[in-house]
Each structure stands twice: as structure tokens, then as C-alpha cells.
Chain length 420, copies 4
Amino acid sequence: MATAANSVTHPTLIQVDPFVPALQQKGLHNRWHPDIPPFATVKPGEARVFNIECVDWTGAQIGNNDFSDDIRDVDLTSVHNLSGPIAVEGAEPGDCLVVDILDVKPFDKMPWGYTGIFELENGGGLFAQEFQSRAAKAIWDFEGVYATSRHIPGVRFAGVSHPGLIGTAPSHELLATWNKREVGLIEAHADAVPPVAYGPLVTGANVGQDLPDDVRQKIYREGARTIPGREHGGNCDVMCHVFPRGSRCYFPVFVKGANLSVGDLHFSQGDLSFCGAIEMAGIIKFKTSIIKGGVEKFALKQPIFLPSPVDPLYSAKLIFEGISVDIHGNGKQYNMDATVAYKQAALNAIAYLQKVCINEYLLLSAAPVESHVGAIVDSPNACVTLALPLGIFEHDILPKEEGLRKLNFGQCAIRSDGIL
Amino acid sequence: MATAANSVTHPTLIQVDPFVPALQQKGLHNRWHPDIPPFATVKPGEARVFNIECVDWTGAQIGNNDFSDDIRDVDLTSVHNLSGPIAVEGAEPGDCLVVDILDVKPFDKMPWGYTGIFELENGGGLFAQEFQSRAAKAIWDFEGVYATSRHIPGVRFAGVSHPGLIGTAPSHELLATWNKREVGLIEAHADAVPPVAYGPLVTGANVGQDLPDDVRQKIYREGARTIPGREHGGNCDVMCHVFPRGSRCYFPVFVKGANLSVGDLHFSQGDLSFCGAIEMAGIIKFKTSIIKGGVEKFALKQPIFLPSPVDPLYSAKLIFEGISVDIHGNGKQYNMDATVAYKQAALNAIAYLQKVCINEYLLLSAAPVESHVGAIVDSPNACVTLALPLGIFEHDILPKEEGLRKLNFGQCAIRSDGIL
Amino acid sequence: MATAANSVTHPTLIQVDPFVPALQQKGLHNRWHPDIPPFATVKPGEARVFNIECVDWTGAQIGNNDFSDDIRDVDLTSVHNLSGPIAVEGAEPGDCLVVDILDVKPFDKMPWGYTGIFELENGGGLFAQEFQSRAAKAIWDFEGVYATSRHIPGVRFAGVSHPGLIGTAPSHELLATWNKREVGLIEAHADAVPPVAYGPLVTGANVGQDLPDDVRQKIYREGARTIPGREHGGNCDVMCHVFPRGSRCYFPVFVKGANLSVGDLHFSQGDLSFCGAIEMAGIIKFKTSIIKGGVEKFALKQPIFLPSPVDPLYSAKLIFEGISVDIHGNGKQYNMDATVAYKQAALNAIAYLQKVCINEYLLLSAAPVESHVGAIVDSPNACVTLALPLGIFEHDILPKEEGLRKLNFGQCAIRSDGIL
Amino acid sequence: MATAANSVTHPTLIQVDPFVPALQQKGLHNRWHPDIPPFATVKPGEARVFNIECVDWTGAQIGNNDFSDDIRDVDLTSVHNLSGPIAVEGAEPGDCLVVDILDVKPFDKMPWGYTGIFELENGGGLFAQEFQSRAAKAIWDFEGVYATSRHIPGVRFAGVSHPGLIGTAPSHELLATWNKREVGLIEAHADAVPPVAYGPLVTGANVGQDLPDDVRQKIYREGARTIPGREHGGNCDVMCHVFPRGSRCYFPVFVKGANLSVGDLHFSQGDLSFCGAIEMAGIIKFKTSIIKGGVEKFALKQPIFLPSPVDPLYSAKLIFEGISVDIHGNGKQYNMDATVAYKQAALNAIAYLQKVCINEYLLLSAAPVESHVGAIVDSPNACVTLALPLGIFEHDILPKEEGLRKLNFGQCAIRSDGIL
């Protein structure tokens, strides 16, 4: 008969509490550095499948309520809080670390997440300057495979749950490359608001372990911020359709043990995100293996991915396009600039959605939209499309002879001082 | 019983011969200008469904052979050759023209197409400078829904046939806007090779109709080139997944009658194209209707699209990513530049494919790859992915313990002087 | 440049006229018999890709009009009219004939088809007895990838075009087996209306070629009717999702040359068909090859199939179920009878659709519905589901708090004497 | 900040232990009867989303080991063990109970399940008589979205997790109808092995609550067995593609409160099942609502379903067909019998799979195969197809020139006395 004795469960290699600030817990770090020792180790033959628990990316800074003050005041010096590093015994530089993302789910005790829009001065975001962004927030309730929001009524969609941030540790050499090129960029755009990049920062840095002071200080001084994605993976906000639960990832290994870290779980995110996604705390289930010499075998400059067969399928879509001309602003012509085209496509979608719903800005950050970039050969206009799945809306939003009907849906969470 | 008498066929409003140079045929034009009169008219109640025949974009300049000299020497002053304009009676500026793309197919007498790589000095392309491109070509045979190529053996894929270029005529005002902003860009990059944009050009211009000399000369002098996509649609190389046969398009109308033009048919094209696609001549089947005042009703700054339910489904994919750092070159850090990220993703894919097949550069221009652009918020690295469908390969190209195996496949069409 | 000289077109091995009665044309036969000689031959190395033209299954008996008298009076002794046989040089009994169905399309001159409901006494159908069927008909207009009908307004769907009937010729031995088992069944149900099966029938038989009288008479006397599917393929009304254009089929070979025949083209058909499908005349494009000894290699008792990647994708569906109890009639309990369960699922769907549209019976015969049969292990109730794609309806047919709304849509084609 | 105080979790209305025999736990019943009182109640406005825990269908009889004796000796008088009934306040006969199946997952402490083949004399199954079945078993390990088995190596597939059994309580009248028709069938086939149906049975009956003796005895005497699906839903082995997590179900209500029961969770099951599925214990997450008068509004004779957008997508398949002739046995011709056709398709698939893997019989019971039933109009041969997803195999199983290669994979769990 079925008994506990004949049931081997999956060990949880890192345990955290989503309601406790990250700095008060072990096993959470927020900088990339080869000198952060493994917090947990996967041995060959053991722990075939294992769980890693993750706080939300801010480390419990954001609450389930109807004001956005926590977003406005979020401490960004201490993000993202990552669980790890996890060493995989036997991995050596030049190998390929194969990671199966078997599952991603919220904690039972925290069945909600959030999408936030940062203040222009603290975090910014895609349209921070255009819209002079003020903090806003939508809380999402997780109902099994679906998310709904009291702040964005009228939509419900199946999550494409995935880790927002996952990567192997850089070597000293690679870290030095990162710091050099990014600090160079920062210096070249010294006055940008928000800044163009974020260099190493001692304030807020955390290694999640008891380390000798000099080691810790070195990591604080040199450790790369977690904001951008890089050659090792890292922050992969683009990856929503790439590594939802069920996916396989091939990472290049730069240090002994690979030293994988993961965090910033998302319940859902589309290809479009003005700030974030549907952020959540939760549990990720992994299986790992190693392909010796994989970097050379597969010409692996960056991770590659096999997507999951369980990506939600919304076949009916409405598609917007954008070109590299600022048609929503001053009409400026850019030269093959896919970033501009992407923003124009987003603004076209926003203009349309303003006729059918509210909080379209938050919705587009969270929903499983798809954005394709086309062949960038039609000088001077790069062209990017943005596809909005129709199945997430409770009402019909298609173009109609009689025009579009806007439903009055209420209000998202805003600053307690009412400033929009 | 079934008889010809009880069968109403679909009229062909514009007829062309794919083997005759475009300049020798009527109904083909290659500039955008409001003064080009309609060559055909769709009346309400009649011609509910109609066909338009199109030459290939070059107007029969490219042959089915094993040399790429025709690509090297292609006359780009006279492209793209578009069929039209087609007036839709009743359409007025501010309306929305609804166009159903019911079918797109090659001529029975020309069941082939081509993918070309331009010379750096004549046409260029995405990697023209990086690779110092020399002309190359692959011929594709159309076998019903599939394309195969003697120049790229080992792959076969279902086409996502679509018009590469479709749009309504601009108003005088809109045309002036285009010319102003593009000429400005050209002047700011006067020395670029290939040029950053192409202004109006009398040489090679064609209106496809007998017009008074002064009208024709005005069109030649002012007419916008067809190379980039713009607010009216136009060249939409990105649109492969957007408007294959079965799609519905909503175009803004800028002139009386809308004056739709179409051409540059593609048998297939992915989100990645170094130069073109699988170019073909062929027949497109349309149905049109009008939504009065649709520009205002739908906030229509550019066309929007409902994609087709018959887009081929390749669910298994291998995904590459790229960031806005030139990791394939000098290591330069860019600021949130999706174009750079897109190119890096492409180069990562090329590096991988060089281990499994040949002519990967031409293959990636033709195959139904998908490229997603992610949330451009993770400063400073924009992140773009490129997904390669596995089902198009006859052999398994997945990462393996034993590495990848390269098959020797022969040679694509190159210059007759052997210069690569 | 592109010229006719460098364009090799696909030969048409059998040519027919869809407006001429089948008996007046060559290359059309309507019985399965090994002694019908090949009408066309595919030689290895030649005719890599070739076309076969087909009349509609009745051979032009049904017209595009608003009365169903032609359905009522259809001559069923002479159906199905198949194009062939086509010999593939080199194929021997025991081999596997690989057939790529590259394309299936209507004649340009006949862009329409029909769905019919037979009279109880002439043709019958799934519910002939339950509904005491009288002839009815819907004409469908083909608009590229879509079909619409003036007789069933409010729906439009993408076709899954396929041959309704395709198979290799039986050997003498296999033919004898068929005749023996089927005649046995007929004799055991001598009084059934409509009959349970159809034995060889001289009346109406046709071989489509000039053959010696004795050969022809032997074929007439022994030739198997084309109505059911059998070990060689044959009538495969179930196969709509199995071999649309783009599919690959593996047929067992029973006679030298394989002697493939094809006909009864369908623009679309779902898993549910009370009588037929959307019947059409048209052109099918094939490519063939041979795997020697394939019957043994693949344990090939019947054909197997690789479906197409271009099957239309309607992801949103409403699903009905049926069990093997006659809950729409006398409540009789059947023992694991999937046929009864299938009919009950269909009747559940009909009851629902009667609340939202008209001519639901014809619609269900033509639309791309899917019917799954489940694990037949839950004694005594087999359970079958029927999934109706929501995307084919112009209006929302989902269950709603306020109930369903029925649109008044008119009338399908009925008998000219008005008898329903 | 995020705290437990601002996190409202989903209540668990019924709690069970998967390692404790069902008879020793409350809230589990194994007969359908209107007099079983609600074990839990959902009040409007409360418990919007709630969990129900379920034992495996046998109630912990089957262990994670390498012998099948537990399958051989399974007590079938006490199955299926269902959690419930759950009353939904406000539901009245004639209403429609809307049930969202938000999630279905195994217990963390029991990450495995099983597929079993019954003995001919105890349980039987689809091919019990053909194969003179002896008990066999495969254990499946759940690794997040995937299942793998040490007993069937070489395959891995994403689960389509769903409740195998879910339904509302019958009214007294409906129950009487069931018993009458089923007992009639049993009496007509008194000697069948295994039996054709299972009437009420006092032995093994369980109501899971403390009830007065007379009430309990009445339920034992009259309660319908849970084996077949019926008008209220019930055992829905066919429903694997119909209500995986993310689906919405519309049930007819027959008694006050609806009295929903659920159990027999499956990690995965295809349309084909010789005995069961991948059976598991686990937790199901529901949301419920009521549509007043829905039975009449939607012509609801049986439940209807909206499937989930998160059904795994395996687009590449190999398809087998079967007709209603016993071509794997005595060649007998049946009359439009979809059950026979279904079994022939399964035997065709088995014959093929025997050339490429082992334990194909257990594999086909568990894998996400699809079985379509076609138009049952081609007298006398019903035709059914069975589609095997290629993506679940680690090696290529497609037909090849050189034939198929069988890998030696070991052995499934068999009886400890070695009898096969």
C-alpha cells in the first residue's frame, strides 16, 4: 500500500520565509560575484529533483493593500534577492549546466503577487520619462493556474510562471568585463534620469552568509548588480515565453560548481513590461545535469533554451505594430532602432486599450502579450509588433462597426497622497 | 448539377506576368504617392472577393539558377514593384479599411522563389558590414504547403505565405512628413554604407500607368520609396506571423478610395531576415470592407491585425538570446538597444548552426523563426530572443552529450567569379 | 532573370472537368479492384511532385442552388468517383508507399462546395432514422482559406482541406476477404433501412478506361464499393485532422505499382458528419516514395499518418459529452458502445445549438469539430466528447447568466416540394 | 510590506491523508446517493476559492514498489473513494453549477503515482479478454510538470492533471433510472467476465460520515457504483483533454446544494486507457458559482466544458487508425461499431510500438494520446484514430527506410509469482 516509507520526497535545498525581510534570512544574495560560496550543493546521484524557495524580488517590501507607497519608496539598492548560490558537484568552467525548470509556484500561504509602476525618480521604467511616472500598483490573486486582480477587473489569464532571474556565477574575468563596460556607459551618460545602468554598490549589498569581513567587502565593492541580463543569463525579463515551468536551460559554466542562483519569480509576464511583471515569492523545482565541455560543443556564448510544452495557448490575438519613428511624440526619425519601434507599438496598444478598459498600463506589464521584432533590414524603420491575447478579456475588445465600448472598472492602487 | 453557369468565380482585378520585366507591364508602381490614380476599383456589392496578381519584388530580375550574379547586380532603384493602387469605393480619409487576406499563392507556372544576400555595396542587409557581404542566393522549390531548396538540403518547412508589402496611399501631408524626417536622417548620416535611408529618386521610378508628364514627374520627384514600413503599413517584413493568408488587417485611410497597393509576396519569412525572405511572384486574394470613422474609433495611428488560424504550428523550438552588448565583436556596451540585442541573438544562433548545417545565414532569412523582444527595462541590457523551430530539420539538432554533428550539404548559389 | 525556361512546373497526371458527369470522362473509377490498370504512372526520378484533378464525389450531380432535389435524387450506385489508379514504379506488395499530400484546393472555376443531408431512403446518414431525414443542402463559398455559406450565416471557418478518400488497390486475396465479411453482414441484417453495408454492384460501376468486356464485367461483379474505409485506407471521413494538406501517409502496398486512387475532396470536415463534409471538386498535389518491405518494418496493417503543421488552430472550444445510454430517446442502456455515446454527444450539441443558431445539423457536418473517444473501461458507459470551436462563430455562444440568444438566420436548401 | 496578515489563503474544505486507508478517514464516500449529506458547504461570498484533498482512487491500496500483487488483489468493492459531498449554498435542482478547476496537484509528500493493468478476474480492462490480462504496474515519478517512470524508461511527458471523477449528486428519481437500466443490462449478460456493469453493492460501501444505521443501509443498498460516467458527470476517463486544471465545467444540479463530489485524480491520461491512467492522490482547487435555471437555458442533459488554455502542446504526432473489423483477430465484420474500431486502432499502435519500446501497453494507458472518432456514416466501418505524441519519446520513433530500432528498457512491475 501507499505509505510515507515508500515515498521519496524532493528535498528543499534553500528555505526562506516570504514575509521576512531578505536581509534577516540566510541563503539570499543580491550581487553577482564568484567569491560568494555555494549556500547549497547538489551532489551527483542525490537530490535528483530539488526545490529552492525564493522571496519576491524586493524581499517582502511590497504589501497586499490599496496604496502604492511601498512601490514609491522601495529600496532598490538591495534588489534582486536571489536564492543561492547552488553548486552542482562536478561542474567546471567550460561545461554546460543543464537545468530543468520543473515547476514554479507561489507559496500556499501567499497566494498573491503584484505589478508595480515605479516613480520616475526611483526605478523608472520603459515610459518613465514620457509619462513622468508616479508609483502605482495592482495586486493579483492567484487562483490556481489563473491570476485575477481587484485593481484590473474584467481580465483573467493563465500564468506562464517562470523565474525572472536565473544564472550561473561569473568568473573574475567575466565580472571585470561587465564592470568595465557598464561603468563606461554610466560615465558616458552621467546625467541620465533614471540612470542608464547601475554599477557596483556597497549600500544594500548582501551575500546571505557569514563571510570574513574582507571577503564580504570585496564582494560588496565589485559585485555586479542584478538588474540586466548578461552572458550567464541573469535578469531575463524577456524570457517569459522562454522558460516557464517545463523548460530546459543550457547555461555556460564559468566557475567550479557553476554556482547557480535564482529568484525574482514571476507568476506571469508578457514580452512587454513597463516595470516588472506579476511579481511573486514562491518555490521553484529544479533538476540539473552537466555536459562536459558544452561551451565549446554548442558555441555557447549565452544560455540557450528549450521551451515548455505547457505554455498557455491563446491563439486569437490583436496585433499592433510600431516603427522606429516617434509617431506618438515629436515625429523624430530613428535609424533602425528596434527599441523605439517597440515603444511605439506599445503606445499604439495603449491608445487602443484606453478605449476599452482602464489600467491598461499595468495590464500590459502583466499579461501574456507577445512582441516580435522583425527583420531589421527595411531602412530606416525597424518594425516591432505587439500581440495582445483576446482570451484574457471577459468582454469582446475587437474592432467593430459601432466602435469600442469602455467599461468603468475602478482604480488601481495609487500613492496615499493621491499624486498621479 | 454542377455547371459553369452556377459557379461565380473571383475576378482578377490586376493581371501580370511574372516572367516579364515590371516596367513593361501596366498596374505596377514602385513609389508611394497620393497622385497615382487607382488602377482598379472595387465597388460595394460587386467583386466581394477578388484576386490581385503580383510580380516578385524585383520584377523578374532574379532567375532559377546556381549563380548569384543577378543578386549582385539587382537594380534597386526600381523596387519594390507593387500591384495597384486599388480603390475601394466609399472609403474616405479617417475611415478604416478592413482587408481580409484570404489567400496567397505562387503562380502555377512559377513554383519557386529565392532568398538572396545582397552585396555590401548594393543592398546591404543586417550584417552587411560585419560580414562584408558578397552576393549569395538560394532557390526554393514550392511543393504545395512546403518549401525545399537544393541549396539548403536537409530542411523543409511549411510556408507562412503573406504579402511583404501592403499599404494604403499616403495623403500629401503624410507624404511630406515622411520625406522630411527621412531626408533629415540621411543628411545626418551622409557617409553611411549602406545608406541609412533612401529618399525620393527619379531614377527607376514607375507609376505603371499612362499619366501626363507633369503628374508623372511630380510623383517621381516626391514619391516615397517603398523600403521601410510606415504609418500606412507598407513594407512589413516583420509581419510574417501577423498577416499570413487568413488574416484580417485594419488600415487607416488617408485618401479617397484608400488606394491600396500590394506586392513583394513571400512564401515564407521568419522574424529574422538578413536581406529578404523567400521571395515569390504570385496571386493574392482579398475581401475588403470599410468602417466609417475607424481611425478615431480605434485610435488607429498604424494598421492593426487579426492573425490567421492557419499559421503553421511548430511547437518544439531551440531559443537563443542576445543582449545589447556586442559580445560577438568588440564587447561594446549599448544602452537598451534592442537592435543590437537582436543582432547578438542572431549571431548566437549562427554560431550554433555552423556546427550542424551549412548556409545557415540563408536558412535563417527564410525559415519561420520567431524573435521576441522582451521588457526593455533591465538597464542597460535590452534582451531579445530568437526561436528556431526544430521541426524544419530532417535531423536532430538538439544539444547532446556527444556534441553536434555537421552534415556536409554542398553549396548555395554564389557569384560566378567565385568571390565570397 | 525569371523566365518560363528556368521554371519547371508540376505535371498534372490526371485531368478532369468538374462540370462534366464522371461517366463521360476518363481516369475516374468507382470500385476497388486489382484488375483496374493504372491510368497514370509515376516513374522514379520524374514527376517528383505531381497534381491529380478530381471531380466531386458524385461526379457533378449537385448544383449551386437553393433546392435539395439533387441531393434527394442523387445516384449513389456510381459513387465515389475516384481519380486513378496511379502506379508508382517500383512498388511491390509488402512495401510501404509514402504519400505526401502537398496541397488540396478547389478549381478556380468552381469556388464552392456543399454539405448535404440525404433522404432516409437514399443515402441515410448518422441520424437518418432518428430524424426521418429529408434531403437538405447548404452551399459553401470558398474564399481562400475560409468557407462561408448563405445557408448558414454567422459562421466562417478555415478549411482543413483533405481527400475524403484515398487508398492503394487491394490484392485479389484482400478483396475476397472484404467481400466475404461484408456480404455476411448484409445477409445478417437483410431488412435494415438504410442498409448496413453495400456489396458489389454492377449497376453504376465504372472503371474509367477502355477495357476488354470480360475484364470490365469481372471488375463490376467483384469490385468493392468505396463507401467504407478498409485496410488500404479508402474512405476516411474520420481523417480530417489526420491528413490535411501538408500531411504524410504511409500506405501498405498490396499490388505491383501500389495503384493509388484518390477523390471525394473535402474543403473541410470535422470529426462529426451526419452525411458528408464540405464536398468539393479540386486538385490534389502529391509526392510519392517507397520504403521497401515497409509492411513488415512498421507492422503496417493499415495506413499510418504524420499530420500537417498547418492544421487550423482554434484553441477555444465548448465541449459536449455523451455516454452509451440513449438519454435522448428511450433511455436504453448499451454496453460500452462508443457509437451510441458518440451519437448522444452529437445530440447534446444539437440541443445546445438549437438555442443559438439554425441549421445546426448541417453546420456540425461541415465545421472543424473534434470528437474524442475516451478510455472504454468504465463499464458499462463508453464516453465520447465533441468539441465545438468557438472561433468559427461571429457571435458569442458561451453559456451566460442571461441564457442564450438565438439569431434568425434564414433557411437552408430544402426539397422543392417543401417536404422537411 | 508582505505579511501573513495581508495574505488570505485558500481554505481546505476536506482534508485527507493519502497514506491512510479510505475507510479510516472522514469525508470520503464511494457510492452516488442523494441521501449522503454534505460533508462541507460553500457559502456565497465566502470561500471563493477552496481546496479539496483526495486520496488516490483505491484509498492507499497501491504502493511504490516493483511488484504488482497489490493491483492483482485490489479491493474493487470500495472504489472509487471520493471527497465530498460539497454543498454549494443556493443551488437548486434545475440550476447549473459552474465549477472552475483551478489547479490539480499531487501531495508534496507523495510525488508519485501509478498505472496498473488489472487481472482478468479482478477489474479486467479494455483488452482483458484478448490478452488474458495478468496484473502489472508502472510507478511514475512526478517531477513538477513532468512524469517519468523507472518501469518505462525513455519517455517523459507533461501531465494534463485532472480529476478522473467529478459529479453532482443524483436525485432519487435519476438514481432509480440508473439502477433500473444498468441492472437490466447486467441481467442480460449474466455470465460476462469481466461483468458488463456493476449494480449497487453493500459490501465495501462507505459514506464517510456518521449516519443513522437505516440511512446508511439504504444508501448501501441503493447507491450507484462510481464506475461509469452518467448524466451528472461522474467517472470521466475520457475527459483528460476536457477538464485539466484551468477548465470550467457546467454541471446540471439534481438536488438542493448540488452536492459535488470529486476524486480519482490523474496526473495524466490520454484518450486511451486499458485500465486507468496515472493515478494519484492530491489536492484540487475549485471556484464555484451558480446559474439559476441553467439546465433549461443551456439544454443541459449532461455537463458541458470549457477546456483550459494550459493543455500541453505536442504538435508532432504519429496517427494510427482502426476500423470496425477485427483485423487483429478473426476478421469479423462489425456494423458501425466505434468501440471495435477504437480497439483496432489501439492494437495497430501496440503492434508498431512493440518495434520501438517495451511496456507499450502501460505507456498507452498513461500518455497524452488522442483518439478521434470520425463521422460514423461510412457503412459498415466506423473509423477511429489514435494519435501518439512524438515529443514524449527521448528517441526518434518515426518510420525510416532502415526500419525501427527497439531499445531494451527492462521490465515493469509484475506479480511476485512471476505469472505474466
